[in-house]
Subunit: 286 residues, 2 copies
Amino acid sequence: MIFNDVKHVLIVGLGLLGGSYAKALKKKGIAVDAITLEQSSIDYALAHGIIDTGTTQINAEIVSRADLVVFALYPHIFVEWIRNHGHLLRPGQVVTDVTGVKESIVYEVQALLPEGVEYIAAHPMAGREVGGVENSDDSIFHGANYIVVPTEKNTTNAIWLCTELGYALGFADVSCLDPKKHDEMIGFLSQLTHCIAVSLMCTCDDPNMKRYTGDSFRDLTRIANINDEMWSELFLANQQTLLEQMEAYRCRFDRLYECIKEGDREGMREMMRLSTARRQLFDKKV
Amino acid sequence: MIFNDVKHVLIVGLGLLGGSYAKALKKKGIAVDAITLEQSSIDYALAHGIIDTGTTQINAEIVSRADLVVFALYPHIFVEWIRNHGHLLRPGQVVTDVTGVKESIVYEVQALLPEGVEYIAAHPMAGREVGGVENSDDSIFHGANYIVVPTEKNTTNAIWLCTELGYALGFADVSCLDPKKHDEMIGFLSQLTHCIAVSLMCTCDDPNMKRYTGDSFRDLTRIANINDEMWSELFLANQQTLLEQMEAYRCRFDRLYECIKEGDREGMREMMRLSTARRQLFDKKV
């Protein structure tokens, strides 16, 4: 199957990301079904033309008519779903996901799936500080990164299909990482940044500080407004890697602390020049 | 003098902030002169109608015709300027600044000024990652904070004039802090955030990481693109306070590290809920 053959997508978990996938795929003329926990999400999505059909009941018919099934669930719920309902999937279907950690789930899910059903993992690097299908918006994908995360079990066809899916959703760049490297990069680029923002926000309780704030603090702590249920699960699902990234960062932070303490201005400036050079490579393509 | 009496402003140091002040003040019908180091900055500002007159020569005439003098210089250059040329200021003039640290300069400058010249310190919490009058833009003040930093030497009149100046420049909120408290808040809200961004950017050298990055890392490291000359000076000018803020933050970061290491999900979630509640107070008024 190539992406052009995908006529019917089933989205399992109709929240912010599931709804944003649905919106982008409908624009490509693809029929979108959804299974989710709350009837209110289905009602909203039907009323706003985000999906074609939807249900809170997991049934064989809606599962089997999909060419591609996208799981947009918390990691442990995704694995449970596959364990309990994976038998409903039929050979030839491709399964993908949006899960933010990979090593701890990808191999398990691949092992649980029926023969002939291929799971190709993916991680869309986009989100918002608000959840729910009501806040879904496929423009969050524009200019953003999408990572395909294959294992040695995956076929070239599925990797290619998932790559085309990333571009079809509107992502600016699609890359490929194995699960271990993915979790390292995401431990550093996403989980560690959330750890920093949460720690910083917990440091000071001056009730007036917003009156003295500049953009740097606002930007840095935007993600301190965090879904504690989801992120605590993601942190523990990538525990060792995240701890290593936290240690590596703390080592640089301690080095800067020492420079300031010792009045080592050249040591400070050296770190600042390095950070400036690296950061300049980072500006977003839109 | 009240702000309405200010007909003539002299800006010393025509960079990003000096130029942005000039643009905002000209819109209020105030005549703006400038003294700066580079003739090219004067030429640019004259050609673009940012100032009325400008010179690279410090002379008594241009200094004495100002009602209000704004210093937009690095801290040590500001102090040197006052030491070397402060005698050109005349009684009745009000002096203010944009300097990012206060305790280490405010008392010294106040002591150096001639009798009858009042220095009222201020800190506009706005900037850009690019410098120079060519990049000046008074819209950076819109929605931003402005802090007036009086000492016991200041008159109520000057505090009031400086407050009105903040609003006239377009700032959304003007508040008042004494120098010690200002340096504490700025150590936390601005300097510490720059330390974090620099340290994070120095942690990983994967040349492809921008392909895997989401908005959180981009936002957090925006300020890792940093003027090393200015910021190393600001850090050392607020050394003890900044070190204390770094220690306080590091203590929270280590607490989160321990929670993750111990698998203490409730401990993590508690920090996340606190950070979320605090961050929600922070959204910018525009």
